[in-house]
Assembly symmetry: C2
Homo-oligomer: 345 residues x 2
């Protein structure tokens, strides 16, 4: 089969690789119908990874159709249309039961080498009973991009909002206007935030953010951004910060714009980030939370809003390509020429 | 009047100082009936402070009787028996309304030089309408130590438990067997924790912790403590960690014994603490919260349990002294010969 492999920084190739197949009785095999390129795929693309000789199978966001199931699979059937969260999980361990599927004791992540990637014609799904979420059949193709976002980016924006404790009437800030940040705006609005301040610099993304519910835009960075957010909040700062970048600058901004007692939900994988232990974190009674989103825990809650069109996170995809176009998708996203690429099969 | 002043590391003296008096129309003046020495008073005692020529007025935990009030005070009357939380606050600003009285925009802390200390015959209370909590009169002297703990140490243990999200059926760990940690055990039990693991090394304190509700004791430190907590929790770690020390070792232990999705409520003022941004915090989806306890927000909730004897945090006082004995109180606490000293007037 054909799959996207990364061989080094900036080097993504679509190659013939051994067919994905059932290895364990708990596996399922899905034929991918749509996949996407994630902002986190750009970290290795920019050199933050170790590369093996065979390359890294890329991709961890997909929807597709079940082609085969292992002998012990009970809830998933051949022919099911399913969503594949970016982490696999058994659904039964203490961590899954607590809703932290990304820490499943039998779990792991797609597209980092242990299992295959989703930017491929097919993919093996470990722990398929726990991992896969069956979706309704016969859906209009217009809803597919939004369904696909539930496997990572929309679930991640939602996780940022949940861990930042967004609730009705609160003031939220979203740091970052990438696809996750934009989904964070959707999530903050959906959870009832009264004011949503989006911090970013790309005009087209900020426009999309406004259409998703951002009430204020801050294009400044660093201390100037902090000052601007203070002005927008009567000097108090925000209750909830969705930190959707993962750099040290974004984190320090997040900490500085939070009001005392506020919460930061961080979902950008941290790279060289420092969290000061005393000021402002301790003395402002800040709550710092977040991590890899347990997408599996959220899909059930988010799905009706997607199916009924109340949220349209699929609008973050502004580049449609096919498997052969995946390297171009990485390039466009890396150059910020595209927000996020969707791959149609 | 006489008051305890700290002039340098290890140098606490009881001296004649100018009488406390009403300075602002919002002030009250209280005659202290009981005060205490706080674990945080030991930080400057051990050299973590800058000392002026006149010394630092010490103490921030007191109950007493109102002797005078400023012209604009409305809720507090001369003769009232009151509790004085360790921070003063107006009770009306956005942060007070949100329950973060320690960040009051008109607030501040007792005993750090701006206002006087509570280890004194009398003390001026800024923002007295917002700060002071009237207590019932005619109480038995046996309940006074527990009432006194509401001004800081019991409120702080409660804050650790609240920010560590202790709730019925959860497994909590308390790092530190000082007075705050012991009050943290009381708070964790009061909030319904099913298992309470107390980490400490002082046999008498651990015994007291058991009588407060600790179900397991861990005397190991560092990696061995982490391993022991894992054994006690089926390998999963705890849901809630009350970090009641403030050193780097205690913080790393707290992070390592928390299970994925768990929360750390830290109330030990951090000294040279590092909070790693990625592992284990981010990848385990840990929540790090806490800070200076908004004691003013909690006294109303905790008071009935103290008055009706359901909790007895006053048992953390194992050294009773008078104002002249304050230097000995510091010495005993610094040498761990006493858990906490109460000063009777």
């Amino acid at each position: 089969m054909r799959a996207a492999m990364m061989h080094g920084p900036g080097d993504v190739r679509v190659e013939n690789v051994p067919d994905a197949k059932i290895n364990e009785p708990t596996d399922a095999l899905i034929r991918v119908t749509r996949a996407s390129v994630c902002g986190s795929d750009l970290w290795p693309y920019r050199g933050f990874a170790e590369f093996s000789e065979t390359g890294i199978p890329m991709g961890h966001e997909a929807i597709g159709v079940v082609e085969a199931v292992g002998t012990s699979v009970q809830n998933i059937n051949v022919g099911d249309f399913v969503a594949m969260p970016f982490a696999y999980s058994d659904g039964t361990c203490a961590h899954c039961q607590a809703g932290i599927h990304t820490s499943c004791i039998h779990g792991g992540f797609f597209g980092i080498g242990v299992v295959g990637g989703a930017q491929a014609e097919a993919i093996r799904i470990p722990q398929s009973d726990g991992t896969l979420v069956p979706l309704p059949g016969g859906l209009d193709s217009a809803v597919m991009p939004s369904l696909l976002t539930l496997t990572d980016v929309m679930a991640t924006g939602h996780h940022a909002a949940v861990t930042a404790r967004v609730s009705p009437g609160k003031i939220a800030a979203v740091v970052g206007d990438g696809a996750v940040g934009l989904c964070g705006v959707i999530a903050a609005k959906r959870l009832g935030a009264e004011q949503i301040i989006l911090l970013g610099r790309q005009p087209d993304r900020l426009e999309l953010g406004k259409s998703f519910g951002a009430t204020d835009i801050v294009t400044e960075r660093g201390e100037e951004a902090v000052e601007r957010v203070r002005q927008l909040t009567g000097g108090y700062g925000v209750h909830s910060v969705l930190e959707c970048v993962g750099t040290d600058l974004s984190m320090q901004t997040a900490l500085d714009i939070a009001r005392p007692g506020g919460a930061i939900g961080r979902v950008g994988v941290p790279h060289d980030v420092t969290i000061p232990a005393a000021s402002p974190t301790f003395f402002k009674n800040l709550t710092i939370s977040g991590g890899p989103a347990p997408a599996r825990a959220y899909i059930g809650e988010l799905l009706p809003d997607v199916l009924e069109g109340r949220v349209e996170p699929g609008r973050v995809f502004d580049l449609v390509t096919n498997l052969d176009g995946v390297p171009d998708g990485y390039r466009a996203m890396n150059e910020r020429a595209a927000i996020k690429a969707i791959i149609e099969f």
